[in-house]
Symmetry: C2
Subunit: 220 residues, 2 copies
DNA sequence: GTATGATTTAAATGAACGTTTGAATTATTA
DNA sequence: TAATAATTCAAACGTTCATTTAAATCATAC
């Protein structure tokens, strides 16, 4: 029953953390809904924070592995050429979409949790969380840069930050603004396809030479 | 001393909510740091949630007003033509940047709070919060659509969602990933300029006719 | 100066929190 | 079956929380 208890706690915690946030979710909520004893969390995870760590790792690790695997496939196929930007965007985005949106409807909720981590947990835990994305961001930065050599490295990283933001935000808020005038149908695949178009164009945007207002433009 | 007390509470609450999140910040933290009595929050704001509402409104309202004012200026200048997409992006983004990043270094922290609101507070309060952006999103959607008539309204709204995500995410996480390999200089103006380039290209991205994998492509 | 209303204060209330404890129960091994 | 370890359990711990209360203080107008 041990593994059963652990998994029931993880599943329930994941859902409740995402729905109500980390501080607002009590161990009593989790254990009661999971049908396990209150003390089980401290026994299996050492405490509330330990539970959060395992919830995050369990969810993030396979996504980042899939991303890296797809990236390696693309790079192998491209040989010495740069991988097209759109394919890189796809390799980065789809592991959260195609793989999950169908099998695991909890992903959008999970993204809500991710979006809040950095301010809801203490500094050490936050650093641990960010570190999980280190390799993926490095590898994709390099790959993007190869196809966008006119950008400097910092610009590439900023654009990746924007890409991640678009992705996270659309999963977080996607459901809240649907009544804004459009149809309230929001097929995950459709919105992800739109995201890929948006982000590919964004990543490929031309660099703008700095134009200081009032100093003049096109100085060269 | 009344106005003084209210403002001290609002200022302190804004900072602490942003740093530690809404549930994790106690009224004791706020009142102690503000140098006012614990009961003052309930006296002036009716409770913790009432305080949050005023914190949010005080910060969001002037930004949205500035956005709408700039939009109207642009539309007046454009006459019967559509406002160029980049100018719309600028009008939407800069009220958070130019106006604030210089005068008010608390903006990035505030964005962290905004990013978490929808999951940290209960449904009614969340709805109230979202409603503050209703007019702005509607007006800008229409303006964007006028310049991008080949997109349908839903697509425009999705792309605005991505734009907002890029903006919020870069303010939220911008400081955390700087050690990723680039220089650790991150001038707010530079990153916002990069954001505008990214988002303008994203908003202007071509529509892709749906290509269903395995069914065939370019069927017509 | 005195009365009236607004604000501040200290103290207390009751509920909810994460965590601990030690006994009871279950599973594993010999 | 007996012994040992792993897990579950109910109960309690001490702390912190938002909120309330009623007295004290302040400002303002008569």
């Amino acid at each position: 029953m041990a593994a059963d208890t652990k998994e029931r706690i993880l599943d329930t915690a994941e859902r409740l953390f995402a729905d109500h946030g980390f501080p607002a979710t009590s161990l009593r909520d989790i254990t009661q809904e999971a049908g396990v004893n209150l003390a089980a969390v401290n026994y299996h995870f050492g405490g509330k924070e330990g539970l959060l760590v395992e919830v995050l790792e369990r969810k993030i690790a396979p996504v980042n592995e899939k991303r890296l695997a797809q990236l390696e496939e693309l790079e192998a196929a491209a040989g010495s050429d740069a991988v097209p930007t759109e394919q890189l965007v796809r390799a980065f985005v789809t592991p959260l979409c195609e793989k999950w949106c169908k099998q695991d409807p909890s992903v959008p909720k999970f993204m809500k949790l991710v979006g809040r981590i950095h301010a809801e947990v203490d500094h050490d835990l936050r650093a641990k969380f960010i570190k999980q994305f280190d390799t993926v961001l490095h590898r994709f930065s390099s790959a993007f840069h190869r196809g966008l050599p006119h950008l400097d490295a910092t610009e590439v990283q900023w654009r990746m930050l924007f890409l991640v933001g678009s992705m996270a935000h659309s999963m977080t808020w996607g459901g809240s603004f649907v009544a804004l005038g459009g149809r309230d149908r929001h097929d995950p695949e459709e919105i992800f396809e739109a995201l890929i178009q948006f982000a590919t164009a964004g990543m490929s945007a031309p660099v703008l030479e700095p134009v200081a207002v009032g100093i003049g433009r096109g100085s060269r």
